[in-house]
Symmetry: C2
Amino acid sequence: MRKKVTIDTIAKIAGVSKMTVSRVLNHPELVSKRTLIKVRRIIEELGYHPRADARTLAGGRVKTLGFLIKSSSEFALPPFYNECVLGAFKIAKEKGYRFIMYDLIDETSISLLTDHIHSHFVEGLIIFEGVYEETLIKRILDSGITVVFVGEKIRDDFITISSDNKNGAREAVEYLILKRGCKRLIHIAGTDDKPSCLEREMAYLEVVENYGVENLGIVRTSSTLEGGVKAAREIIKNGAIPDGIFCFSDIIAIGAMHELMNHGFSIPKDIKIVGFDDIILSRYTTPPLTTVHQDIAKMGELAVLTLIQMLDNKNEPRQKHIVFPTHLVIRKSA
Amino acid sequence: MRKKVTIDTIAKIAGVSKMTVSRVLNHPELVSKRTLIKVRRIIEELGYHPRADARTLAGGRVKTLGFLIKSSSEFALPPFYNECVLGAFKIAKEKGYRFIMYDLIDETSISLLTDHIHSHFVEGLIIFEGVYEETLIKRILDSGITVVFVGEKIRDDFITISSDNKNGAREAVEYLILKRGCKRLIHIAGTDDKPSCLEREMAYLEVVENYGVENLGIVRTSSTLEGGVKAAREIIKNGAIPDGIFCFSDIIAIGAMHELMNHGFSIPKDIKIVGFDDIILSRYTTPPLTTVHQDIAKMGELAVLTLIQMLDNKNEPRQKHIVFPTHLVIRKSA
DNA sequence: TTGTAGGCGTTATCAT
DNA sequence: ATGATAACGCCTACAA
């Protein structure tokens, strides 16, 4: 292991002060062409890397964004986040920002985030749906770090980017009733009291009532494959078999569909199923899933764009709350 | 935003030196009970968080592990990693270590990792299968950071934890031939030249030759759902329809199965399909996927255990290369 | 058990 | 265009 090379090493060899080296790194436009080239060559030769900790301690920037998610028992990165993260990452990279995903599943994990916030190792945060405990959010906001919420409109006073849960759910249930002739419906709902859960559930209830269709009930379950399986079992056990099911999420729908078919039900012949999210996987199930499409990737992209704008210009966008439209994607499950 | 509180703030209020505060944080056993309580209370009251950057700069530890992965076009965290990461995270948490996932998909992303390495923001690295460019690995190893490789035995001189690709693949293909009576086989292989690809492919070739069964060919594709779809299309286009397919990975198998069924083939009736990995998803497809099980979660757990042992005791485990057994899980696709 | 001094590597600020 | 100096917040080493 060769000896450590610091900014001083470079400065000495180049015959300049370390400030000049620092400038080469951070404000090359303030350095003369000749020294710039010389210093850069030496940096290259010695494989010098500035220490980010010394840098942040001294007040420098790191151009790093944080993404707050919450893992499930099945997925370190639950599928719902996937495309949002993918979209966000794409834009971040384009803008020269790096990113870290912070899983907020427990205190150990959270301490990493708080460490990084206080060290200024992250400059801005995107808080995804699913992370919404009041106390945790409060702790984060108290640090004063710049923040954008994605997926849920849970705070009036901060930027949020969400999608039109109500209309999406409405369209799905109406499709089941009007186009597929369903008469006995069930909604598999989430377990949380976050807006997305509530709004989709409410829309379901409204539509069912509107059209005078029978509501066999609402089954609550966690948004996992296994959650879907359990919900399906419960439905089967109860004995009141619906001809249509509207699920809170695709991942639930996939689990439920699997279990239902396992028990000999044919989909969509016996039971029609509609999901919500339109995750990538939904195109590859058998039958492919009919679902409410959210443009999750675009939401991620916009979130990053907004965040970077706030960071670079230190101003807020005029519109605090953006709501993306949704639309039904009809495949084979309903 | 309240004024920033540093170790000095606490020290002054507590009427002690900042070293005592530092000790309270890092070596509480060296501090008298009374001061300990007093200082802790003040820390709590003011919500003081030590700055991790100042800490690492001064030589402190952060107890953070890094997980090196590579995203795909479809997944920010490809399913293959999922359970390994889940297992690794579990143990890390138990041991009081935090973790960061580093996606090494491009230079911007990589720069984050190198920043963190040089700042000592990560103490040890787990390098997963899929990250294996010579130059990149070399760069990482040159930094001198402690490392464990998981999924591939790509380096003789470092710790690796991998699974028995050869036997797994052999068992899968033999099952297809011996138990399911397949006579015309195809292997959908990966595109990389990493050991797992090579070994599975080689085993396929050997078994096919051994039993004098017809090898319709090897189709290469990327390990994504879409890759599986493309491979299936190619097979269909070529016109030589196999009665059995052995896939490099489950994710490929799921994509291929989907496309094949799309084209009217019945699985397993017309074509039998076997995957590799046994990712969670494989239990939920229709039909559920027959596949070679790797104990990915356990590999992740052991990797972390090993890494922490190396970090804490500064010694290497006696056995440098661990190979986990695999076994065939028979479900419905073959 | 506690305190003092010094340094970790970088950047901001003010000079020149 | 470049340099000197101080400061960032914490920890190690040594001293009391």
